[in-house]
Amino acid sequence: MIDYKTLYNSDPFGLEIKKKDPWYLTNQKKLCLYHYKNSNNYKLIIDNIFKNISQVKKISNLPFIHTSLFKNFDLISTNRDQKVSTFSSSGTTSSKQSKINLDPKTSLLQTKALSRIFSKIINKDKDIFFIEKKKFLKSRESMSAKGAAIKGFSQLCNKKYFLLGSDNKINFTLLKNYLKKNRNKEFIIFGFTSSVWFNLLKEAKRQKIKIKKNQGILIHGGGWKKMYDLRVDNDKFKKKIKSVFGLKHVYNYYGMIEQTGSVFLECEEGYFHCSNFSDVFIRNSKLELSKIREIGLIQTLSLLPLSYPGHNILTEDLGVIHGIDDCSCGRKGKYFTVLGRVPNAELRGCSDVT
């Protein structure tokens, strides 16, 4: 159905928008129609609110669904008797969590996509450290977003190490010994943004650990809400992590549980990039497309979700597209920044006394 062969064999950041768009439209449309046939709730949204999918001629006119639906409804596009696991977002701050119905096929697509997107940064010469326990991969959670990331990265790297001990404490000795033996060797540390900050950094501070300059690269993503609450932005995060751990590079990515795998990688210039797996639009308060450099709600698209209709989502994040095809990092396609969560609307009216 979807042209996954081309997708997985091409340079994920190599297509100019002119070449990418027609191909992406065809495949994204197929995916829309697939979910229309297979998910009752998705069909209801399309029938009630959007125009006929097959008549759409622009990617931006394809129907999207609001991210809150994953919190309030069970969205699934496959037979329930097939092997489907349900996952919740890691977000512990908000009251309701997103629920994602993931089947093995989608999970595999996500893992493979992740390795493609990070293939320039990670390769078989490098070893990787995960901020996770060793037995994680054997747990049920291994099919979650974090699991997809760990499996995807493991395949790309040489040796893998797990930094979290069974007592939930970071094992710095492991890292220090590694650095003693492997001076000047590039290596990777991967973790979710919040666990890098709250586990790795906090524990290093507590133990007064500071590591001297090395060839390490940190890859992190997801869950910025807690960081915003602490008023830690991307720059501050980077500086702090680099100074404590002596790392060479810190790569952030933008992703969400609904679109695990097709994450938006931050380039050397500090912008998130679309890959061939994904697309992004920014919409203004009338839900029309914002102009370049105009702030709006972020809409993200992915070609990966098959077992649930998460392929085209209006998020509650604010962002800005800075340009297309012309980022000085050399990657093609759209590049953008994320400005945080849209504030809650001030509700007027007579209910609610606080």
Binding site: I45, N48, S285, L297, S351, V353
Partner: protein, 395 residues
């Protein structure tokens, strides 16, 4: 007088021990005070940019209060109950002022909890009240008034509830439920304002007879009823029920409305996010079927032949259900006791009243022409606030 933990309560105007009351309803000095408040508002430059303050300023003028009084002046045997506790909504700035006026006009002492949000309107109005409270001539009237603020506290709310003769509880189902759990005097009377919804009823054939100017002015009135509070006010219509089959007239109405909306309505990104989220959640809730028109995101219409009205409070920010009725009696299945206001055009009041009686409908407490959805009168939610807050002396 009441509280051990009085420390947490911030007194804005007045004192805790009331020295006066109960009084006659519509007493002279209260009407005089209200007229003075009106003057202060209408002459205050700071008030100019708040239409809701100006509306209140006109409303509490002597001439208007006397108009209201005419409905009551046969009640020679009425006076206040004692002390009334007013719990006002946090997000309608001037609601407390109306509640206060009803409490004063019905001859009571009043404890008014102000919205916790710092609205400028509330601040200005309190400044005016403070200023007037220093005048000798109003000394007696201000002995009936206490305006307070406190952060949500069950302890304070329940303490305040213990010793009053009546409570006016705005703020919808959850607030009402909460306050019902607090102990009150056995004879304490509650005026509770629960969650309600409202609709519009328009005869398209009558609409067709309007000239361009009058149609535009009707659309403007409809706009004021709906968009000024993003449709969150419970008396704000969330749907139009059409009588008559003049589709051209309906189209013209929506067009006129969209012209006004596009000129005057500014939804921000937070509102837009909430609007689309609400719409999509609404669509999936209980398998509803409708056809949305979202080309102009500022004015969304949902056309439907059959729709479940259970979960109706959730669509806002300029989203309207549109339902064609062959006959007014078909409206029955869309009504419930939660239906508060019908704003209408092209239909007579008595026909709607007949519809209510013939169909044994429990809801519908207000039937007003389009444009008057927000007119606060002593008759609200099927209650006469002034009569209820006062007692009748048997003679």
């Amino acid at each position: 007088m009441l509280l051990e933990n009085g420390k947490k309560i911030k007194i804005i105007v007045g004192k805790f021990n009331f020295k006066d009351g109960p009084n006659d309803i519509f007493s002279e000095d209260i009407i005089l005070l209200l007229n003075e408040i009106s003057k202060e508002i209408l002459n205050n430059k700071k008030c100019k940019k708040f239409p809701d303050l100006i509306t209140f300023g006109f409303w509490c003028r002597k001439s208007n209060i006397n108009k209201i009084f005419n409905n009551y002046n046969f009640f020679k045997n009425r006076m206040g109950r004692g002390t009334v506790l007013h719990i006002t909504p946090s997000n309608v700035p001037t609601n407390f002022a109306y509640s206060m006026v009803f409490g004063l006009l019905s001859g009571n002492n009043n404890i008014i909890r102000l919205p916790s949000k710092n609205f400028l309107q509330v601040k200005i109005l309190c400044e005016i009240l403070k200023k007037l409270s220093t005048k000798k001539i109003f000394k007696k009237s201000f002995q009936k008034l206490l305006l307070i603020k406190y952060q949500n506290s069950d302890l304070i709310s329940s303490e305040l509830s213990k010793n009053v003769e009546a409570r006016v509880i705005w703020g919808g189902d959850s607030t009402v439920k909460k306050f019902k759990t607090f102990e009150t005097k056995p004879r304490c009377i509650d005026l509770s304002f629960a969650n309600r919804y409202s609709i519009s009823l328009i005869d398209s054939n009558k609409l067709a007879k309007l000239n361009a100017q009058n149609l535009s002015s009707l659309a403007k009135k409809f706009y004021n009823d709906t968009y000024t509070m993003d449709q969150f006010g419970c008396s704000s219509p969330n749907s139009i029920f059409w009588l008559g089959k003049n589709n051209f007239a309906k189209k013209r109405f929506w067009f006129e409305l969209s012209e006004i909306v596009n000129k005057e309505y500014n939804l921000d990104l937070s509102g837009a996010n909430k609007k689309i989220s609400n719409l999509m959640n609404f669509a999936l809730n209980k398998n509803k079927r409708f056809k949305a028109k979202i080309d102009n995101f500022n004015l969304i219409t949902l056309k439907s032949k059959k729709i479940n009205f259970d979960n109706f409070e959730n669509i806002n920010f300029g989203t309207f259900l549109e339902i064609d009725l062959n006959d007014i009696n078909n409206l029955k299945k869309y009504t419930s006791e939660k239906l508060q206001t019908i704003t209408y055009y092209g239909i007579e009041f008595k026909i709607i009243k007949k519809f209510i009686i013939n169909n044994k409908i429990k809801g519908i407490d207000r039937i007003v022409p389009i444009g008057r959805a927000f007119d606060l009168t002593p008759e609200w939610d099927g209650l006469d606030i002034i009569s209820t807050l006062s007692r009748t002396i048997g003679i």
